[in-house]
């Protein structure tokens, strides 16, 4: 079980680093979808499978909302960002630094909140760290939402070990879906018809 959990940590590291490096929105959404599988598995360490599945289903619903919206936008709008570091190597290097920080920080976090398990803490910190990095490198609505969803996934993985309330699970699902819908709105806002002033 522990080995599978560590494999999952590696898996979410690859998906979240892939999100950082990728420039194709289809690939990004695919990676995010796979990332939610990892989140589901890590959450399942502390929650029953039926509860943990909420994370997976909610995540995929959020991806569907974003994907449907992005599909209807013109391709030329992509990659208009000019001011952030563009090189893939740079981004991989930054992701590597975050991974090193997580490796050193995870055992200390386990001292503060014992009983959760190092794989869950590591997976959670990887998502939080790379999500933060993602937010720090972009100002585009689509990527900001991906960064925020990644951060929330990391937080929820950790919080699931501490709090098993059904209401919290439901409210966090609403927040995830809401974030995706807000992302969809931000992507399409400028193409919508202006309101009548009468």
């Amino acid at each position: 079980m522990t080995i599978i959990a560590w494999v999952t940590v590696g898996f979410v590291l690859v998906t979240s680093a892939g999100l950082l490096v990728s420039r194709d929105w289809r690939l990004e959404l695919g990676l995010l979808g796979l990332q939610y599988v990892g989140v589901f598995w890590l959450t399942n360490q502390h929650w029953p499978i039926s509860m943990a599945a909420i994370k997976l289903v909610t995540g995929w619903m959020a991806i569907a909302a974003l994907g449907m919206t992005r599909l209807n936008l013109i391709e030329e709008d992509e990659d208009r960002e000019k001011f952030w570091p563009q090189g893939r190597l740079f981004r991989l290097f930054a992701a590597g630094i975050v991974t090193v920080i997580v490796t050193t920080a995870a055992p200390r976090v386990e001292e503060i909140i014992p009983g959760i398990g190092l794989p869950v803490i590591s997976g959670s910190l990887v998502l939080l760290g790379l999500g933060m990095l993602h937010l720090g490198m972009t100002a585009q609505p689509f990527r900001v939402i991906l960064g925020l969803l990644t951060i929330l996934s990391g937080f929820e993985t950790l919080y699931a070990a501490l709090e098993s309330s059904v209401l919290v699970a439901a409210m966090l699902s609403v927040v995830n879906l809401g974030l995706a819908l807000v992302g969809a709105y931000l992507l399409t806002a400028r193409t919508l018809e202006p309101e009548e002033s009468a």
Binding site: I112, L148, I151, V168, S197
Partner: protein
């Protein structure tokens, strides 16, 4: 009938229904009237006590169960509900003249319902998630269709969303501190995480860069509403932490950190406001200073802190309402609201200009205006604790005053020989005029709303006792 049903679910349902209404006047009247009725109901109908009217008896139950947790509004919450929905009604009635009713009424009512739910939810920690939901609803409110999202909106979303995980996690850690009060390291870690969470939510220094950005990007009336409603409820949520955790409430260091954070906001907000050349950015920096006032009030000794924080709510809302409405009306005439462009507008828009200046002066604590009595009380309380804090508080206030005087100078700076040419609509003139009268009433008779404010500290079991 239960209180959460009446003050949370009913407005949320009406808000959802009102999305279907396209007539702005009907929306304004319906939304404003509902908020006003809810405020009156909170004043008249006691929660969890039978109200006898002839043969008819009415009792509002305090709680409802949702998925194993409770939404509960205790009798002491009645005053807060009355003030909150009363002020929301004022904002809704003003929405028609500013042309924002179609977005502000449905989404604003939904946000108000969610924020009341955040006060009512048990365990109180879950309020962070409800506040986050309100923030998500605020995005379409801020960004109308056909407008590209700017960096201010994105930063607003990022910072406000980051607040929630920090607060939820800190809440869990704080329970651990309560179980083992001797663990100093855990106490420091948990209070640091909690502080970060609230710093994100309240846009505390240095996380407030998005506020002036937003003031240049979006409707200032909508922004004014959010500038009032979100920090007010977040501070009440923060007071819940102080009420719940005795070690936090009695910690001298925590009080000093609050004072330092508040002072930084008052000084940086006040001084930045003084040097701005954009009227919207001036309002944003004044809002930063306003949040600083709340933090400073919270740093006072507990018995004074609670009352001071609540005394700030009504003047803050009224001043922001008049300020945001005046700016919105000026923005209809000239855009952007830079000093070089708004020069001499007092000759064509005297009431709007007067509203703008008086609201600014009220936030700066100018005598006879709504902000003055509480600023004076706050200054006195701070001076008793530390003269240096009182001195820097004065510097922040002076910054706000200089900003107001500069605005006044620019607005009346018309070319030689320019005559008066009134171009104001009577509707907005009346609304701004009423708001200005309210600012004077609250400044000259600060006890006007004492009858509701006096019960607010009872919301808390330990804080201020």
């Amino acid at each position: 009938m239960s209180a959460p049903l009446l003050w949370i679910i009913l407005p949320a349902a009406v808000a959802a229904f009102s999305l279907l209404i396209s007539n702005k006047r009907i929306l304004t009247i319906a939304g404003g009237s509902l908020a006003l009725l809810l405020a009156l109901a909170a004043l008249i109908i006691p929660i969890d006590q039978a109200l006898q009217i002839g043969n008819f008896s009415l009792k509002i139950a305090p709680a409802i169960q949702i998925l194993g947790r409770r939404l509960i509004l205790i009798p002491a919450d009645g005053s807060l509900l009355a003030i909150f929905y009363g002020l929301v009604a004022m904002w809704f009635f003003g929405a028609e003249v500013t042309g924002t009713a179609h977005r502000l009424v449905p989404l604003g009512l939904m946000i108000a319902a969610l924020l009341v739910a955040s006060v009512a939810v048990e365990p109180f920690l879950y309020a962070a998630i409800l506040i986050e939901m309100a923030v998500l609803l605020a995005v379409p409110l801020l960004l109308p269709p056909n407008q590209t999202p700017g960096p201010g909106v994105m930063r607003f979303l990022i910072y406000q969303t980051l607040g929630m995980p920090f607060i939820l996690f800190a809440g869990w850690l704080l329970a651990g501190v309560e179980a083992s009060p001797g663990d100093l390291q855990l106490a420091i870690q948990s209070s640091t995480i909690l502080g970060l969470g609230f710093a994100f939510l309240l846009a505390v220094f240095p996380f407030y860069t998005w506020l002036p950005m937003l003031a240049e990007e979006v409707s200032l009336y909508v922004l004014g509403f959010l500038f009032w409603v979100l920090p007010t409820i977040t501070i009440i949520f923060g007071m819940g932490f102080l009420d719940r955790y005795a070690w936090l409430r009695t910690s001298e260091q925590f009080s000093q950190i609050l004072a330092l954070g508040g002072l930084l906001m008052v000084v940086t907000g006040g001084l930045s406001s003084a040097f701005q050349r954009h009227l919207g950015r001036q309002m944003a920096y004044a809002v930063i200073a306003e949040t600083g006032f709340s933090l400073l009030a919270l740093s006072l000794p507990p018995e004074k802190a609670v009352q001071s924080v609540f005394l700030l709510i009504i003047p803050r809302s009224l001043a922001l309402l008049v300020w945001a409405m005046s700016l919105t009306k000026l923005k209809e005439r000239v855009n952007p609201l830079r000093f070089s462009i708004v020069q001499g507008l007092a000759r064509t828009h005297p009431i709007t200009a007067a509203g703008l200046i008086l609201a600014h002066l009220s936030v700066a604590g100018f005598p006879l205006l709504a902000g003055f009595p509480i600023r004076l009380a706050l200054w006195e309380g701070l001076a008793i604790q530390s003269l240096s804090v009182a001195f820097w508080f004065l510097i922040g206030i002076l910054g706000l005053l200089i900003g107001a005087i500069r605005t006044l100078a620019v607005l009346v700076m018309a070319p030689e020989g320019t005559g008066w040419d009134l171009q104001e609509r009577w509707g907005s003139g009346i609304m701004i005029g009423l708001g200005v009268i309210g600012l004077f009433i609250l400044g000259i008779f600060p006890q006007t709303f004492r009858f509701v404010l006096v019960y607010l500290p009872e919301m808390f079991e330990h804080l201020g006792k």
